[in-house]
Amino acid sequence: MATERSYVSYATAAVALAAVPLSFVGPEGLRLAVIGLLMLAGPGTALVLLLRFDPPRSAQATGALPLSIAIAIAFSLAMSTLVATAMIYARLWSPPAGVCVLSLVTLAFLGLELKRPKRALVRAK
């Protein structure tokens, strides 16, 4: 389970890091895939990892997995929406800057997750 968490963390960090340069330049298809993935699941995945929203592998505990995925996606979409909306109302519209903010949020959550004591696991019923 810890290995799976690490893989997800590395993948999320890679997407967040790659999105920064790609928000300025790069092939359209690659930009759409990476930035789309970041906006769809980046900050939320990092948040769920931070919350240790992945219970131990047991039949009872798998109840948290759909909720974890749902929160990862919904939080990412909500963050993307709120960042974009804040830029519009503040008259500071800059889509690449918005993507950079999302990347920073994602990396910040991942950084906090690294610092967190490993025993802080959620208990699932």
Binding site: P55, L82, T85, A124
Partner: protein, 630 residues
């Protein structure tokens, strides 16, 4: 994913385990797994079911590629689908029920089966048409394009710019990726959004049903009965994902009474009656995070509410009654959240959407309290149009009735079995309190069905499934399959019943592109019937008009050239008439039968009218105005 429930029982201990399952069922508990009761389902069973689903997917996709869109008639797509499609659909349905009947649930297998079902039921747009469904999809792309390019909102333009959250999101995606248009995303949106819904639906169903087998079945029935087609690239679809996640998170993390049940006379009375009606305390799917994490999740829930509020007019108002009933049934312990759910949309309406409020105050409150007009009135106007279309409308009504009958039966069964039912029933009914507010453009009942469906299906599975967590009996499995087949077939009719008018082709897009390359910026562009795949670019650059809405109009008058001449009188105009406009007019009864052909043939010879372009998808006319010398 891991194997889900302890349902593979060694033969010698099966009775004991089943007895335990029965004993625990009324509290919604699943038996904990042990090394002894896992692994009795042979791997080849799982492999065979996965392969059958893959075969259903391949056959279904192939059969959809064989559809000739020209054969799609008044009853929609069902008349044009080859028999192989229905074989694939049947295989998919049987595969899911067989997977659900395994003694050991395999979440990965069930997920795969559901994805196949989603592609078969919701994949017609990308596979058959290759273009986004509904003219609204094109408008939504245009709004995102406008925001992406200008970085500004013009709240006077239309309501979308007063609730711009979702379009800001799309605008940021478009602006940061350099994507010239979002056609691909919009075309695949129905499949993508339904797949995104899977996790929140499952998380929600786990908290509203007695065991995981019922939860998976509820999600399956949701997909089979979700016909209203609000899963296109739209604020409604986006908000629905957030709404379901919000409710699932609240039920999973913040369940329980919001106040001590012994505090007052009312709280005692409430707790006693809730307990009398539904004494089950479902624990499956509940999580108990640490205190700090719980605080973070409260913030997450508030942010979900805020994002929903900024994006959609209706969804935040649908959340309010759902949260209220969860609070009153002891399933939500955050007292302040329903208050926040009221404050946010009201505050947004008063401050951020004040432009819309000033211009539409009468429209917003004009139907307040008129339950008849907002419900049956809006419904009766839909029972019109061609005979084939009326058949489609009746199919939709029958499907809704079937789901609600099953839900009511489920509530009764749940009460008798002492299985969880009250929260699902209350949440399914809660959105109906919006009926007295306003008709929402005649679509309120459709939207309410959408909001109620995730809860109603948790009840609908109760009569179809036993409490036994160890597999399905053959009789139950056949009953479930039969019900699934009825719902899926009805959904093919009801979801795609308007396919002729809701889908478009490349010729029509070519006509629209030619219109934009011909008409100068700021020109008046007229569509004969409001059903044109346009405004995906230049959303704010032209003066868009329509002669008639694509709505049923009793004793509709024929279209006249004078109506166009009057609009074009001053500075000229461009008129576009497309095949989908004709389909819409015929289907909905917006104009007399054959009137659009007569209209274009007659007006083409009128003075000042010039045919600019024509192909199989439609025709463009330029009408000269006074300043142009006519």
């Amino acid at each position: 994913m891991t194997h889900e429930t302890a349902t593979s029982l060694p033969v010698r201990t099966a009775h004991r385990h089943e007895a335990q399952a029965h004993a625990h069922a009324h509290v919604g508990g699943a038996k904990p797994p042990t090394h002894r009761n896992l692994g009795l389902t042979p791997s080849w069973h799982i492999g065979a079911l996965a392969a059958a689903a893959a075969a259903a997917l391949a056959l279904g996709v192939w059969s959809m590629t064989q559809v000739d869109p020209l054969r799609i008639g008044g009853a929609g797509l069902i008349g044009a689908l080859p028999p192989a499609y229905f074989v694939a659909l049947a295989l998919s349905l049987a595969g899911f029920v067989a997977s659900l009947s395994l003694r050991r649930l395999v979440p990965a297998l069930l997920t795969w089966q559901l994805i196949v079902t989603v592609v078969l039921l919701d994949g017609a747009d990308p596979i058959i048409h290759g273009l986004p469904r509904l003219e609204a999809s094109f408008r939504h792309m245009g709004i995102a394009d406008t925001i992406s390019q200008s970085g500004q909102l013009d709240p006077t333009l239309d309501a979308y710019f007063n609730w711009p959250g979702f379009f800001n999101l799309l605008g940021m995606l478009s602006g940061a990726t350099g994507a010239k248009d979002l056609f691909g995303i919009a075309t695949w949106a129905p499949v993508g959004i339904n797949i995104l819904l899977l996790a929140p639906l499952l998380a929600l169903a786990r908290r509203l049903t007695a065991n995981p087998r019922q939860a998976w079945a509820a999600v399956w029935i949701f997909y089979l009965a979700s016909w209203i087609g609000q899963d296109y690239l739209s604020p409604q679809a986006y908000s629905f994902v957030l709404l379901l996640t919000l409710i699932a998170c609240l039920l999973s993390v913040f369940g329980g009474w919001a106040w001590p049940t012994e505090r007052t006379k009312f709280s005692r009375w409430l707790a006693r009656n809730v307990s009398k009606l539904d004494s089950s305390v479902p624990r499956y799917g509940a999580v108990e995070p640490l205190r700090a994490d719980t605080a973070v999740l409260v913030v997450v829930c508030a942010l979900l509410l805020l994002a929903m509020t900024a994006s959609h007019q209706l969804s935040p108002f649908a959340v309010i009654p759902i949260l209220a009933v969860l609070l009153l049934t002891g399933r939500l312990r955050l007292r302040f959240l329903p208050v926040l759910a009221v404050v946010l949309p009201m505050g947004w309406l008063l401050f951020a959407a004040s432009t819309f409020l000033e211009g539409h105050f009468g429209q917003l409150l004009g139907s307040l309290g008129d339950i008849g007009a907002n419900s049956l009135g809006a419904l009766s106007t839909r029972v019109s149009g061609s005979d084939a279309h009326v058949f489609v409308v009746y199919t939709r009504m029958a499907e809704v009735a079937l789901v609600w009958i099953l839900a009511v039966a489920g509530a009764i069964v749940g009460y008798r079995r002492k299985a969880p039912w009250l929260a699902a029933a209350a949440a399914a009914l809660a959105p109906l309190v919006l009926i007295p507010l306003q008709p929402y453009g005649g679509e309120l009942l459709l939207r309410l069905y959408l909001f109620s469906l995730p809860f109603a299906v948790c009840l609908a599975v109760l009569p179809l499934m036993s409490e036994n967590t160890a597999g399905l009996s053959l009789r139950r499995a056949l009953g479930l399959l039969l019900m699934g087949a009825v719902l899926a077939t009805a959904t093919v009719v009801s979801r795609y019943g308007n396919d002729g008018m809701e889908s478009f082709n490349d010729d029509e897009i070519a006509v629209v592109n030619r219109l934009y390359s011909t008409a100068p910026t700021g020109a008046v562009l007229i569509e004969a019937v409001r059903n044109t795949p346009w405004r995906y670019q230049h959303y704010a650059d032209y003066d868009y008009r329509a002669l008639v809405a694509a709505e049923p109009i009793p004793n509709a008058a024929p279209l006249s050239c004078d109506a166009v001449n009057q609009i074009a009188h001053k500075a000229g105009a461009y008129l576009i008439v497309t095949e989908s406009q004709k389909e819409a007019a015929e289907l909905r009864g917006s104009t007399p039968i054959g009137d659009l052909q007569r209209f274009t043939a007659t007006c083409a010879t009128s003075p000042g009218w010039t045919k600019v372009y024509e192909n199989a998808g439609g025709v463009i006319f330029h009408i000269e105005g006074v300043s142009n010398g006519n």
